[in-house]
């Protein structure tokens, strides 16, 4: 089986220094792949590189990102735009800032259905309504007429999830989709993403710093530090038997999903210093 | 030392105007009032010595332009300074004392904003009688609001800051706090406004001259020249072009100076 996303030797740098160093990873169809690391590890940069939205000042210095055999980095902006939304979609990090405050939910949710799938307004709204049903929003008709500020954070994230799935994309990138939410809502949203992913058989690239989340929904995981891949493999295996000392330390520093009361160890400074030496070598 | 080019260009041009106004008798090739009907409406360079041509009475355009700087600058500096003084004082009081003083000043500003300023100035000068003093009074009466509005807002903000409270705790009186603590911090904004206001004052004077209400028609003013130029525009475009150009450059200079000052002083405000 050929991978849906195949990143090969991707390197990127900013004015300050390298951000990604020779990153390679592949995601198979229908699989959930976690990108794990602390902030600055480069996991978000990888997601942004796939979506073609790297901020000004960060430039890719080498490597390829193959999506179903096409190198995304070689595409013209127009060709990339043709793929986005339809074949690749995003569930953003912050539902509060990711919806346009001046437009109704219905208009925003149906953008893709109307402009990309060519539906008329009526059909697009019918489809949007069933999408909202799928993400367990009650009274979808009324919600479609609302403005974002009239919905709670959890509701907004559901809307954004519905939007991401609306055109049945092959790949969805979820960029820390639960970080901005209340703890109680986090679980529901996580479960929703997993259910939707299974139902649509979507390939999911899940960016997170939370190993608990990884354990719950990801098939495989890639651990990053300082823009470098430290470890890659099946989630269950890595969590049980981490090979890299950093992953081990990270595990010790996270609350265990099965033993939340366990006391936490910070990542030892000596280890960090060693990692940094290793990376810059 | 400001590095902003706009401050140097704007300030330089204004300095140039000041020098022209001071040495007008030396610079002007002709007496600005001297009529020469034989050489009336001569195009630039046609009559010897009349480099910028002559108007319908044969008066030298260049000489009138040079003498015109005197009225323009007098109005710019005197009217703007007085409007600044009045507006800043009222703005400081309104912003600092709040309460009924603020309510009064704010209401006055609202009412003033409801008048078209040009109409109000024409009306004022008509009531007071044409003349330089009336023009200056009219500009002060109309434009004090520009200062009052901004200074009031700025003072409200400053008075809330800690140094004002600290000064108050030290037992400083209201007057001393206003004078020594608040005013210096509001001053940069006032300076910028003052520069912009000078440009506005020059325009208002020109407009009043244009309507025929400024100083007596004997005294050369840019506005008066423009008014005459508008009337004989089909016969002698140069009578309009040169004073209009002078007005344009002067307004632009005051504006660029103001904008430059704003940027230069801004980081100081934020400190």
């Amino acid at each position: 089986m050929s991978p849906v996303i195949d990143i090969r030797n991707l390197s990127a740098r900013s004015a300050v220094g390298p951000i990604l160093r020779d990153v390679s990873l592949s995601v198979n169809a229908g699989e959930v792949m976690a990108l794990v690391g602390e902030s600055g590890a480069g996991k978000s940069t990888i997601a942004k590189a796939v979506l073609g939205i790297l901020p000004a000042g960060i430039e890719v210095t080498g490597g390829n990102i193959f999506f179903e055999g096409t190198d995304l980095l070689a595409l013209s902006p127009a060709r990339l735009r043709d793929m986005l939304g339809v074949r690749i979609a995003l569930i953003p990090q912050d539902p509060l800032t990711s919806l346009n405050p001046a437009r109704r939910i219905g208009d925003q949710l149906t953008d893709g259905l109307r402009l990309r799938a060519g539906m008329n307004r009526k059909r697009a709204f019918d489809r949007a309504m069933s999408l909202l049903n799928d993400v367990h929003i009650r009274e979808p008709e009324r919600v479609l007429k609302r403005y974002p500020h009239e919905l709670s954070g959890g509701m907004r994230q559901r809307v954004l999830i519905a939007q991401a799935f609306s055109l049945n994309p092959h790949v969805i990138i979820a960029d820390e989709p639960t970080t901005a939410l209340d703890v109680t809502v986090q679980k529901q949203v996580l479960r929703l993403i997993r259910d939707m992913q299974r139902e649509h058989k979507t390939t999911l690239l899940f960016v997170t710093h939370d190993l608990g989340v990884v354990a719950q929904i990801c098939d495989r995981m890639t651990v990053l530090y300082g823009g470098k891949v430290l470890e890659q493999g099946f989630t269950a295996q890595i969590l049980k038997n981490p090979q890299s000392p950093y992953t081990r330390a990270l595990l010790a520093a996270s609350p265990r999903y099965d033993q939340p009361e366990q006391s936490l160890e910070p990542v030892p400074e000596a280890l960090i210093a060693e990692l940094q030496r290793e990376i810059s070598a | 030392m400001p590095r902003d080019l706009r401050i140097w260009l704007g300030g330089g041009f204004i300095l140039f105007l000041i020098l022209v106004a001071m040495f007008a008798p030396l610079l002007a090739p002709f007496d600005p009032l001297e009529q020469d009907l034989m050489a009336a409406t001569a195009a630039p360079g046609v009559e010897p010595g009349h480099w910028l041509g002559t108007d319908s009475l044969g008066r030298d355009v260049l000489s009138r332009l040079i003498y015109g700087t005197r009225i323009a600058l007098t109005v710019a500096f005197v009217a703007a300074a007085l409007a600044c003084l009045l507006g800043t004082t009222l703005g400081l009081l309104a912003g600092y004392y709040r309460g009924w003083v603020d309510a009064m000043v704010s209401r006055l500003v609202d009412i003033w904003m409801a008048f078209p300023p040009v109409l109000l100035s024409i009306l004022l000068v008509a009531v007071l009688g044409a003349g330089l003093t009336s023009v200056i009074i009219a500009i002060v009466v109309i434009d004090w609001t520009r200062f009052a509005r901004v200074v009031r807002a700025e003072t409200q903000q400053q008075a809330r800051l800690e140094y004002a409270e600290a000064a108050s705790a030290l037992g400083m009186g209201h007057g001393a706090i206003l004078w020594r603590e608040v005013l210096p911090n509001v001053l940069p904004v006032v300076l910028v406004l003052l520069s912009l206001e000078m440009g506005i004052a020059v325009i208002v004077e020109a407009i009043l001259s244009f309507v025929g209400l400024s100083v007596s028609t004997d005294t050369p003013t840019w506005g008066g020249m423009i008014a005459e130029g508008r009337q004989i525009i089909y016969q002698a475009w140069w009578v309009l072009v040169f004073p209009l150009g002078a007005l344009f450059l002067t307004v632009l200079a005051f504006n660029q100076l103001g904008d430059g000052l704003r940027q230069w002083l801004d980081p100081m405000l934020k400190r």
Binding site: - | R107, I111, M113, P116, V251, L252
Partner: protein, 335 residues
């Protein structure tokens, strides 16, 4: 918006209007000089003056005079013009449409031009296009309508005479209209040649009025658009595959329009104030030009009526802007 806020806004507007009336009234009476001397024609006898005095109630104490005038105004009676021997209301009603059509035409031009400036410089942000527009905008902003008006007269009216520089329409065309709303009625009656002629007459004065406003709109709109363009929902719209133009117009412009609108409202009142001198320069038959004539002719009732008219327009514009701001901002609408 809660009713209490609407009420307090309306009350504040009325108070401002009342203040405007007081100021006009006091201005033409208390300031040195006998108001009657502003009115009399040369060669009037003492008896004429006394009669005029009684006619205008000028023999009463000033506060009574004000009260008389105030009551008249409330009844819709602004008196009779001294120079034109006609009811002030009649004269204003005849001239107001010309000014309204000019001001609104100028506003539309300013909004389109300013919006265009903002969109282009946002789309090409960080390039020489943005810097060039910024510099040009700075000049448009610094130079007032008075100078623009005269420049247009000179350049487009005289040196390259492509447009008319005086009046409202070609006097040789008699369109036979019933109202003074030349454009509205002309369009309604499908007299397109006439409307075209009126528009040509309006173009230069409207440009002079529109330039400074367009510069303000352009600058504010661009700054707010720049802030909006880095928002997450813009990035997400890009990821949804929306085109750049759609993102600019549908996502960014609408959010940036609200803050720009409030300022446009204030600036529009400046534009209306600018009609006074601009109409004069273009001999345009509106109330601004009329007002200057009224002052020169010392036509007291007409001056009062005109200043009041400007005040009312000012207050209406402000209230309309408030309403529009609320309507465009969903957060305020439901609050």
């Amino acid at each position: 918006m809660p009713l209490s806020i609407i009420l307090s806004r309306a009350l504040s507007a009325l108070l401002t209007l009342f203040g405007v009336m007081v100021v006009v009234f006091v201005l033409v009476r208390v300031v040195p000089g006998d108001p009657i001397s502003m009115m009399i024609a040369p060669g009037a006898t003492d008896a004429d003056i006394a009669a005029l005095r009684a006619h205008y109630g000028l023999d009463l104490p000033i506060w009574q005079q004000f009260w008389v005038w105030f009551k008249q105004v409330l009844q819709g009676n602004l008196g009779t013009s001294i120079s034109m021997k006609q009811g002030v209301i009649t004269i204003i009603a005849q001239r107001l449409p010309a000014t309204l059509e000019l001001a609104i035409f100028a506003l539309i031009m300013a909004v389109i031009w300013g919006g265009f400036i903002a969109l282009v410089s946002t789309a090409w942000r960080g390039t020489w296009v943005e810097r060039a527009i910024d510099n040009f905008n700075g000049i448009m902003l610094a130079v007032p309508d008075f100078i623009w008006a005269l420049t247009f007269v000179l350049v487009l009216g005289v040196l390259v005479p492509v447009l008319p520089i005086s009046g409202r329409s070609d006097p040789s065309i008699d369109a036979g209209l019933a109202t003074q709303f030349y454009i509205l009625e002309g369009l309604a009656r499908a007299k397109f040649a006439f409307v075209w002629d009126v528009l040509k007459h309006m173009l230069l004065p409207a440009c002079a009025l529109a330039f400074p406003l367009a510069a303000v709109i352009g600058r504010v709109l661009k700054n707010t658009m720049m802030d909006v363009m880095v928002q997450d929902y813009i990035t997400l719209a890009r990821i949804k595959g929306l085109s750049s133009i759609r993102i600019l117009l549908q996502e960014a412009l609408r959010n940036a329009a609200v803050p720009a609108l409030a300022l446009t409202g204030v600036q529009f009142t400046f534009l209306i104030g600018g009609t006074v001198i601009t109409e004069r320069i273009f001999s345009y038959p509106g109330i601004g030009n009329l007002a200057i004539d009224a002052v020169i002719n010392r036509d007291l009732p007409l001056i009062q009526g005109l200043v009041l008219t400007f005040g009312i327009i000012f207050i209406i514009v402000n209230m309309a802007v408030d309403a529009l701001t609320v309507w465009l901002n969903p957060r305020l609408r439901h609050a």
